[in-house]
């Protein structure tokens, strides 16, 4: 097994005094899809958001432990959070395109990075939209408002927007939970393709989805990592009773 891309070591997370993650440790590998599953409120989103330090925005939170990506502890004081987030993209549960045109949505990231050359921007927009498998649907109306797209299209646009910043790792928090089955399968297909280029971590409530798209699966329960391993193993032969109960739908 090759070296892990992200090494999480004994991470605990507190909202105020409330413990939301309890000494979680796991390794995440490059160019794979890693799925986080678990019942609602078990801390999946919290954990995901520690990886690009989005939780820094919430007042009164505390994190202990280490998260090491490649060579560097991302909670090191010397780390620039803004640049870190450029390298770790995030797709949210509810699609959240800006109230701008489709083009402007995708070009947003490159622009704030100082790219203003029109030709370059156009290329980035096109490439990103293609990679997000939405180019054909929007290529004729790039300058229409993004809010006019369907929910599934909006979500793929948000993925394109994330890709346009050229991240290494993409975090997805239930990216398909608000979508219809067809849009969902499109997103799944997309995730499957994107992992060739990116390291993907996805939170999902949908067991089949986790089984379909991921190589590795982590099962969380009330802030603890219960079991982590190859998806096939977790779904066919889990080691822990809680995991089995959850997967077979006995609770959660």
């Amino acid at each position: 097994m090759k070296e892990a891309k992200i090494k999480i070591r004994n991470v605990s997370f507190y909202y105020g005094t409330k413990l939301a993650l309890n000494t979680v440790s796991l390794d995440i590998y490059a160019n794979q899809v890693t799925a986080f599953i678990g019942p609602s409120g078990c801390g999946k989103s919290t954990f995901l958001r520690t990886l690009n330090r989005m939780n820094d925005l919430i007042p009164n939170v505390k994190i202990t432990g280490e998260i090491i990506i490649d060579d560097v502890n991302i909670y090191d004081r010397q780390i620039d959070v803004v640049n870190l987030r450029k390298k770790i993209g995030m797709v949210f549960q509810k699609s959240n395109p800006f109230a701008k045109s489709i083009y402007e949505n995708v070009a947003y990231g490159p622009k704030i990075n100082g790219i203003h050359n029109k030709k370059v921007l156009e290329e980035i927009v096109e490439t990103s939209l293609k990679r997000a498998a939405i180019w054909d649907e929007v290529k004729d109306r790039l300058h229409d408002s993004a809010l006019g797209l369907s929910g599934g299209q909006q979500q793929r646009l948000c993925i394109a927007r994330t890709l346009a910043v050229n991240p290494e790792i993409i975090l997805m928090d239930e990216p398909a939970s608000a979508l219809d089955p067809i849009s969902t399968s499109k997103i799944e297909e997309l995730i499957f393709q994107l992992k060739e280029l990116y390291t993907i971590i996805i939170v999902t409530h949908n067991m089949q989805q986790a089984a379909r798209v991921s190589e590795m699966t982590a099962f969380f329960y009330i802030g603890e990592l219960i079991e982590y391993g190859k998806t096939k193993k977790i779904f066919t032969n889990p080691e822990k009773k809680q995991t089995e109960d959850y997967i077979t739908g006995r609770f959660g």
Binding site: R85, F92, K94, N96, F98, Y108, I112, R161
Partner: protein, 300 residues
């Protein structure tokens, strides 16, 4: 039996409260109607575009309209950026419960409550006597230029008065910008300031507009702050520079109805001026209400 008295009391309660609403609205309607009837004869294009004549007993009110417009323009230039930035601080930078943000909020509320005449005193004591005199002594060797009432000082005084209006409107609008958009921007590696500039402020545009309109409407109608900071009784010419005095609609109404030698003869002019001012503020307020209602209706 009991039910019957109950119903009666209820009827009386609902009746009295409804009557109160009717009385208030009736007062508003009566004021409108009386002022419209009193002023509509006098209003004409000529009235709006010509200078007063014969010791202000005849002619139009153009300089007062012009002065009011110029004053609210200067006022907005000062109050809108200032108020917007303060609102940004309160919503984006301040920690909700920090001492500083509580102080600022309290200061904004106080500012909204300070009697307008106090702003006039402050304008006189600070802008004219402190800043203006200071400038005259520092740059003009004591030659009197800035140390006296003028449109600049009046506008700045008015800007302080309308500041809370802008702050409150912009703050409200910024709150309607969903947190998920801020997160999206930050997750793309935008800095806080980039997020504010490119996502938050564009989302709050209509709020800034409403705030500006409300501030203009308020500033156009206030008289007390400009009584001794720049408004003039009568000027034969329009102000040429910001160090000139100016005529204003509100002050014109006040002067004409209380100090002029011939109150009765100029009554139509007074009503017409009042009508112009009322319509101006009414239209502005109405626009702001509509924009705001639309803003509130848009789903978050």
């Amino acid at each position: 039996m009991k039910k019957w008295t109950n119903k009666l009391t209820g009827g009386i309660m609902v009746g009295t409260t409804a009557l109160s609403v009717v009385i208030i609205i009736a007062i508003i309607v009566v004021m409108f109607v009386v002022i419209i009837i009193g002023g509509k004869e006098q209003i004409s294009w000529k009235f709006l575009t010509s200078f007063p004549e014969d010791g202000m007993t005849k002619g139009g009110i153009f300089p007062a309209i012009f002065g009011t417009a110029l004053m609210v323009l200067l006022m907005s230039v000062a109050a809108v950026p200032f108020g917007t930035i303060t609102a940004i601080y309160l919503t984006e930078y301040a920690h909700e419960n920090s001492f500083l943000s509580k102080c600022i909020r309290f200061a904004v509320k106080t500012l909204a409550m300070v009697p307008s005449i106090i702003f006039g005193l402050f304008g006189l004591g600070f802008f004219i006597k402190f800043v203006g005199d200071g400038m005259d002594h520092a740059f003009l060797g004591g030659h009197l230029k800035w140390g006296q009432p003028n449109i600049l000082w009046a506008s700045l005084t008015m800007a302080l008065l309308t500041l809370p209006v802008v702050i409150v409107s912009v703050e409200e609008a910024i709150h309607t910008v969903p947190g998920s958009l801020r997160e999206a921007s930050l997750a793309l590696g935008a800095t806080k300031w980039q997020t504010i500039r490119k996502v938050v402020l564009p989302g709050a545009r209509s709020g800034i507009l409403t705030g500006t309109i409300l501030a203009v409407s308020r500033g156009a109608g206030e008289v007390a702050p400009i009584l001794f900071t720049g408004a003039a009784y009568y000027l034969a010419t329009l102000p040429h520079s910001v160090s000139d005095q100016f005529m204003s609609l509100g002050y014109h109404i006040y002067i004409m109805s209380t100090q002029s030698t011939n109150v009765d003869q100029t009554l139509p002019i007074q009503f017409a001026t009042t009508l112009v001012l009322l319509m101006l503020t009414f239209i502005l307020n109405f626009t702001a209400v509509i924009i705001r209602a639309r803003l509130r209706r848009t789903p978050k």
